[in-house]
């Protein structure tokens, strides 16, 4: 008889091991799915998970995809650590792209080293302001931030939609729903000639390091942790709950906003409808897969970025719809939630008799 019994103390090693286990289970399930679809599972897995990163260009592409995922996820961890479920990062990313991109469009023909920093700062402000709305609603009216932040994500996407077909449409763009391209001063410099990996990666790594510092070495990080573990203890300690809510939302919004401007001023170079393949939502998976931990989030962002690339290659070489990438992302989260059980419980095989 198999029984699930409480461990008593939660297992530290399982806490770290469970995300790896979930990736392994995802690979197994992926092979089964490929097999059912009539492909050689081993070949398919290689095409999906190895061939995209088998050359320098592929690794650059992996980093291009991982950059926004990692940056948004590390921002979200400020909220999630405090049990604030901001799931509207996609909207905050979009607002960041709009705020920063606006500057890029306006100064498209100006050449100045100040434009890119201004765009990044505007992007951060745009994302943070958009994230302030659920924070204000939560602190003033006790609304559920899951609903408000999610709904605001769609509002932001519609605003972008309006701008690119309306006031910001490229006058020389043959009526395509897109803006004119940013000037050279409004583009993220690439890190290696000929590859797309850009300066956003450096910004991301710096912000990850700063987040790590905040979490491990500051009172503010400690307060977030305490208030996440136990709101009652945070109250007992006398922390200002609203201050923590506003700061967490502001940081996560700003990071998502920077990720947004990183995308549009990096690989894209202008504003149009589909600036993000759901980075804001996928980052939620990255954040949990990385256990809300800076190092974990870096690793998780690479794994999830690979599912994006793998899906593209699978579509190209196996003629499987690229949506299969989203299926794998979902599976990773699904198995993570499942294996999380093992942190606090263990599986015991018992013989059947008496007690």
């Amino acid at each position: 008889m198999i029984k699930i019994v409480p461990r008593g103390n939660s297992s530290k090693s399982m806490f770290i091991f469970a995300p790896f286990l979930s990736v392994i289970f995802t690979l197994i399930t992926a092979s089964i799915i490929f097999f059912i679809m009539g492909y050689n599972p081993i070949e398919a897995i290689i095409i999906f998970f190895y061939s995209p990163i088998s050359n320098l260009y592929g690794i650059s592409e992996l980093l291009v995809k991982a950059t926004p995922l990692c940056l948004i996820a590390i921002g979200l961890s400020f909220c999630f650590k405090n049990n604030l479920y901001n799931i509207g990062a996609e909207g905050q990313l979009t607002m960041g792209a709009i705020f920063g991109g606006g500057i890029g469009i306006y100064f498209y023909d100006v050449s100045s080293f100040l434009i890119l920093p201004a765009m990044i700062i505007a992007g951060a402000i745009g994302g943070a302001l958009w994230a302030m709305i659920p924070a204000i609603l939560k602190t003033k009216f006790n609304t559920n931030e899951i609903l408000t932040s999610l709904m605001l994500a769609y509002v932001a996407l519609l605003i972008l939609d309006y701008l690119v077909v309306g006031p910001w449409r490229d006058p020389e763009g043959f009526n395509f729903p897109k803006t004119r391209g940013f000037g050279e001063s409004g583009r993220m410099p690439v890190l290696y000639q000929g590859l797309r990996v850009h300066f956003g990666l450096i910004i991301t790594l710096i912000l990850v390091f700063i987040s790590y510092f905040i979490y491990s070495k500051t009172i503010f990080g400690y307060q977030l942790k305490v208030s996440g573990y136990s709101p009652r203890a945070a109250k007992f300690a006398g922390y200002n709950k609203n201050y923590l809510i506003f700061s967490a939302f502001a940081i996560s919004g700003a990071f998502a906003g920077i990720a947004g401007i990183g995308e549009v001023s990096g690989p894209i170079g202008l504003l149009y409808r589909d600036i993000s393949p759901n980075y804001g939502f996928t980052a939620i998976i990255v954040c949990f897969l990385g256990r809300l931990d800076p190092l974990g989030i870096i690793l998780a962002s690479l794994v999830i970025a690979l599912t994006y690339l793998g899906a593209e290659d699978a579509q190209l070489f196996l003629r499987i719809p690229a949506a299969v990438g989203f299926v794998f992302q979902g599976l990773v989260l699904f198995f993570l939630l499942g294996t999380d059980l093992l942190v606090n419980f263990k599986i015991k095989v018992k013989e059947k008799h008496g007690y």
């Binding site: 573990y229 007992f236 006398g238």
Partner: protein
Amino acid sequence: MNPYLIRIENISKNYSGVLANNNVSFNIRKGKIHALLGENGAGKSTIVKILYGLIAPDKGDIFLNNTKIVFKTPSEAKLQGIGMVFQHFSLFESLTVSENLILGIEEKISFDQLKNKVKVISEKYDLSLNLDSPINNLSAGEKQSVEIVRALLQEPEILIMDEPTSVLTPIEAEVLFSTLKKLIKEGKTILYITHKLEEVIKNCEEVTIMRNGNVITTCAASGETKESLALKMLGYKVNSQITDYSSISEELLISAKNLNKKFNDPFLTDLNNISFDVYKGEIFGIAGVAGNGQRELMELLTGENIGKVDGKLTFKNKEITNFTTKQRRDLGIGFVPEDRLGHSAIPELSLSENILLSNFPNNNFSKFGILNFKEIELQAKNVIKEFNVKAPNQETFAMNLSGGNLQKFVIGREIKSNPQILIVFQPTWGVDAGAESFIKESLIKLSKEGTSLIIISQDLDELIEITHKISVISKGSLSKHFKTRSLDIKKLGIMMGGVID
């Protein structure tokens, strides 16, 4: 013929390294009140839960009427005639008495059948119940009657009662004992778990004493005195304190004037006209039965639940009624709430990290918001050493400490912040005797150094031992105070029963 109804033989139970029961053996005679005496953590609850089928022993046997029994669930125990009344009521607060009763029984019966059954039991044992009243309208004594009737509906041969008087007033306790005696007359057997010595001597025939998971002895209660039982239960004599008024000075530190707070919530107690004065170096005790507004008062004093408060709370003549917890801490007021896990300490964090929870003024724990781990660790080490906390080191997680050790740590942490006032809720709730006497000594020592203390506790003995003056809280009202040295226990008992003049 064997005169024993139940024989417990060599029961052992190991909880992840802690031996809760070590070869426990004792026998229970039919038709007696058999006491199981021991401190918190002595292993009483474990053996009883094994008997009731809630947990499985690692080894050992239980015989009922000379037949070996193995219960896998409480339902099996109930079918064999074992009933149990838990220490903490397991009633649905918003359901009525009859709904609670019908939920508790195994067979399917109608409400009318239930009514008849309850009527018979009520008359037989003098347990009057209003079947249609919601549980949250009942007093603790009435709730307990519901629990007892629920157990009796199964027609048990043996009734296990786990510390039944811990939530009752002295008068309610008397009523309970007369009920128990009626049950005995009917031929039932009662296993009575307690840590109150007087109850054993007054009401029980036989007593089994447990300490640290072992049975010390089983003997006739009639031959014992309070002192002899205490010696067997504790194993050593705890130093008793004598009230010393010399440390109190004239300076008024904290004062409440007519504090009122209405909650409009059936599960909370409104506070009415709470007034008290506490002087420098004085220990003020607030006695009372659980659920009479202690928690609500505590949250008012800590600042965790302010707003809509009438009246005035002053600290050194400065009004602080609407101060936040942080503002109060900055004035030098320390707090120790009742719950250790998740309130005064965070189980998932290390002891060092838990030090930071009470980030009192003028500490060296951080500079410009950046933590100074050396100072934090040093403070944690000092608390562990000075307050005799049994922990491997300061990086141990709070969840790995026993209740007593964690409480010593929490109280030590607050004391080390040199508070001007320390407000403590249930200082020794669920801690072992050694920790209990250590905590009491620490609190007295603190008052001698000039700190004022407010101690809210359900344990009257504890308050008598350490406080200078005591008031009683009942239904949200606070009585005038009495000097502890010249206390009239009877009067206090009556006030705890709800009569406050």
